[in-house]
Amino acid sequence: MIKNGAAIAIIILISAFAEIYPQKEMPFSTFKIEMNISTPFNKNYTSNFWEYQRGYKFVFETPFYFGKLQFGMIAMPYTGKEDLYPDFREKYVFAGIGDEIKFPLNFFLYSGIELGHFMMNFDSNELSEYEKNESEFSAGVNFRLSNEVINNLFLSVSSDITVLFTKKKLKYYYLSGGLAYKFDSPKWLKDFFN
């Protein structure tokens, strides 16, 4: 559906533009909190057994020495299509790094890579505590288009394209939309990170 090469090419292109036209921000000088409603927009092998529900995506973002650092989480419930397949709640926790370029009319385009931990909590009384929890490493890319509608308040649309490194690799494509607010970091926080 989405070619890996094309995604990497877009990231490199955006990073190159961002380096040519850098936005001057000191590392950890600001924080942006983003809250989104999120939904997958692809089908993978698990779609044969589970249906996804609407989920949420939270992101903290801060300028780094190069580009921006992101820490985020996507939470999403899945319902089994049959009793054999217990419902589960996905929590995908990730850290990413990327770059952003500014366009006219206060539009911003971000692209980056992300590494994460994909945790699944199964809801079934028949499972032991050990069996109820599964987790696996995940890696991917993400893109975001945002617009600063008023000072430091952003409307954003983003996509996360991730590969879950299970024995049979699973691809998840998420589409998210929401609001973000950016603020100056308190001094103690800047000191901490520096």
Binding site: Y45, T46, F49, W50, Y65, F66, Y78, L84, Y85, P86, F88, A95, L115, H117, F118, M120, F122, E131, E134, S135, E136, F137, L164, F165, T166, K167, K168, L170, D191, F192, F193, N194
Partner: protein, 646 residues
């Protein structure tokens, strides 16, 4: 061979320059350890240029320094701050038993040529870990890490696509407290490490004996007191490690559940009186393979209590340093069995001279005589280093050793004394006589420093092994129990000549980035088949590439690429067929990438690191019965509060 050594000693005409770095000595610094994202002591050897390492379980290693030994006779000397720690038992040295934590390490010194060091004859390499000197006042440190291997079934565990769970690899925690003043320092730490056997190739085997889970658990306590007194420095060390482990016991071919206990109490130090001084070391340790609950009640019923003592007197002048010393080592078998002799006593006498006639050239040589009852064995070395000009250094090292079975102090030695494992079917045939092994080694290294940014290393080495013994084993695979078994026939009079070569280049692209490439080559020359087969377990070619990029003071990225050629384990030739190629004789070449990124925070009080190993998820296996490791993710965090209360 003795006469060759004496010939070289007399006629060698260039001398060793002490102030120049010897290319045969490798220093692995704390910074290098951090850049590579290493989380345990065993992983440090992955940075050693001239050492081969393999792993069966993914967390512990078998190693060989600079073509000096096989994996089955690794026997390197391991020290912490000058204190020898006896982690080896039955030819297995698990570096994770060392009681120190990864964030206590200042640097690791690796010696890869035979020589006398701290009263020991270093035959198979030295791993000397130097811990950090604490700042004045009270300091605290802590660390934690978690490792995860990819390849879980994920949600598909509930479907017909379900596969075994490989899940978590490791989790480690440690904490320490240091206190220091001008005249003394006290270091104490505790370490808790858990490693998970996740690979189906091992789990099936372990499950046969195991009653509980697939976890190994290692808990260590370490205390070290250093004082300056009586014209010298003196260190007292106490350490306890308890490790619930699956001990890979080669004569059986399987992992045996053990509660391994290592207890160590020691003192070392020196007295200095102008140009004359005394170095001393004494320690008492116990390394025990205790019983761990298992379904077949397999019990080694064996431990080794070791008493070590060494003292040497030395003289230092501008142009020379000379030392004469004597040592005593008594290993006592701790077992309920009746043995012919439960004590293995070795005494030694040695001398070493380092000459420094000029700034650019100098030479070291030494003789070491060990005595086991009436049997005396001689070891000697001569090493030289010549700084030809500002950028060029040549070093040479030659050695000759006679080693008897008592010095190896391994399972075969104790078997000869009558030791048996009743609960384990170990069928071993020993030859009537074991002659002392004879080893001749020659190393030539050349380091060329073009400027402050580029340096190159070229080296070659030759080994001649004679009067060796070696085990012949052909493992049979039992499909019902998923375990191996084999009779072991030990043959003496084995011999082999091995040639090795290495080349490396180290260049700094800028102050913030550096690249290092290192290549190792090994070739068996003529020899007996059994010993040749032992050496076929090493790859002929090893190449490593490491790129470090530190764009900012508190942030760095390191990338590594490693290639090794194929390895052959003939002793699994039948089990390959019996297991339907689950366990293969030939290990395929590996091309492995890793990426590590570290960040310091809060004025260097917190350090966090992310490491990805086997980045492209290529096949990664080192031993026929070992794990095939997939892409792994490691996260670790360190915390340092230095000199908080002065």
């Amino acid at each position: 061979m003795k006469y060759i050594l004496i010939f070289i000693l007399i006629f060698q005409n260039y001398l060793f320059a002490q102030q120049n770095p010897d290319p045969a000595v490798q220093i692995i610094t704390e910074e290098m350890i951090k850049q590579s994202g290493i989380t345990s002591a065993a992983e440090i050897l992955s940075l050693a240029d001239r050492w081969n390492t393999i792993t069966i379980d993914g967390s512990t290693n078998f190693f060989s320094a600079n073509n000096l030994s096989t994996y089955s006779r690794q026997n390197a000397i391991v020290m912490i701050d000058g204190e020898e720690i006896n982690i080896g038992i039955f030819d297995v040295q698990n570096l994770n038993l060392l009681p120190l934590t990864i964030n206590q390490i200042d640097y690791v010194e690796l010696l890869s040529t035979p020589q006398i060091y701290n009263g020991k004859f270093i035959q198979n390499g030295l791993i000397h870990i130097h811990t950090k000197t604490p700042g004045k006042g009270l300091s605290f440190h802590a660390a934690g890490s978690v490792g995860d291997e990819t390849g879980d079934p994920g949600p598909l565990v509930f479907t017909k696509e379900s596969t075994p769970n490989v899940d978590k690899l490791s989790q480690t925690y440690s904490a320490g407290i240091n206190a220091a003043s001008d005249e003394w320092q006290l270091k104490g730490s505790i370490k808790h490490e858990e490693y998970f056997e996740t690979d189906p190739a091992i789990n099936d085997r372990i499950s046969f004996l195991n009653k509980d889970d697939n976890k190994t658990k290692d808990v260590s306590y370490f205390i070290n007191l250093g004082i300056k007194a009586f014209n010298g420095n003196h260190r007292f060390t106490g350490a306890v490690t308890s490790n619930d482990d699956y001990f890979f016991f080669a004569p059986s071919g399987n992992e045996i559940p053990v509660k391994q206990q290592l207890r160590h109490l020691g003192i070392n130090g020196n007295f200095l009186f102008s140009k004359i001084g005394v170095n001393y070391a004494a320690s008492l340790s116990v390394n025990e393979l205790g019983y761990l609950n298992n379904s077949h009640s397999v019990n080694f019923d064996f431990g080794e209590q070791q008493l070590l003592f060494n003292a040497e007197i030395f003289y230092r002048a501008d142009y020379l340093k000379a030392a004469v010393g004597t040592g005593f080592q008594r290993s006592t078998a701790v077992t309920s069995q009746n043995l012919i002799d439960k004590n293995n006593e070795l005494r030694n006498l040695y001398g070493r001279i380092d000459l420094f006639p000029s700034e650019n050239i100098s030479q070291s040589f030494g003789m070491f005589v060990s005595k086991y009852y009436d049997e005396k064995n001689l070891k000697g070395f001569i090493s030289s280093l010549w700084k030809i000009n500002r950028g060029s250094i040549i070093s040479t090292a030659f050695s000759f050793s006679e080693i008897n079975l008592a010095e190896e102090n391994n399972f075969i030695y104790w078997r000869r004394q009558g030791y048996r494992i009743d609960s384990l079917n170990v069928n071993m045939e020993l030859p009537g006589n074991f002659n002392a092994k004879k080893i001749f080694t020659a190393d030539l290294n050349y380091r060329f420093t073009i400027d402050s940014l580029v340096s190159m290393d070229i080296g070659t080495n030759f080994r001649s092994f004679s009067d060796f013994y070696a085990e012949r084993q052909y493992f049979q695979y039992d499909t019902t129990t998923s375990t191996f078994n084999s009779a072991t026939d030990v043959y003496s009079n084995q011999y082999l000549k091995v040639l090795g070569a290495s080349a490396g280049i180290n260049f700094s692209l800028s102050k913030k980035s550096s690249v290092k490439i290192f290549y190792n080559y090994r070739k068996n020359l003529n020899g007996s088949n059994l010993l040749k087969q032992e050496w076929e377990k090493f790859p002929e070619h090893n190449v490593s590439l490491r790129i470090n990029f530190n764009p900012f003071d508190n942030f760095g990225i390191a990338a590594g690429l490693k290639y090794f050629s194929s390895m052959l384990w003939y002793n699994y030739i039948y089990s390959e067929y019996q297991s339907r190629a689950k366990y293969k004789t030939k290990i395929k070449p590996g091309l492995l990438a890793e990426l590590s990124s570290g960040l310091w925070m809060w004025n260097k009080k917190i350090w966090i690191n992310v490491l990805l190993r086997n980045l492209f998820n290529e096949p990664e296996q080192y031993h026929p019965a070992g794990a095939d490791l997939d892409l792994r993710l490691y996260l670790q965090a360190h915390l340092y509060f230095n000199s908080v209360l002065e």
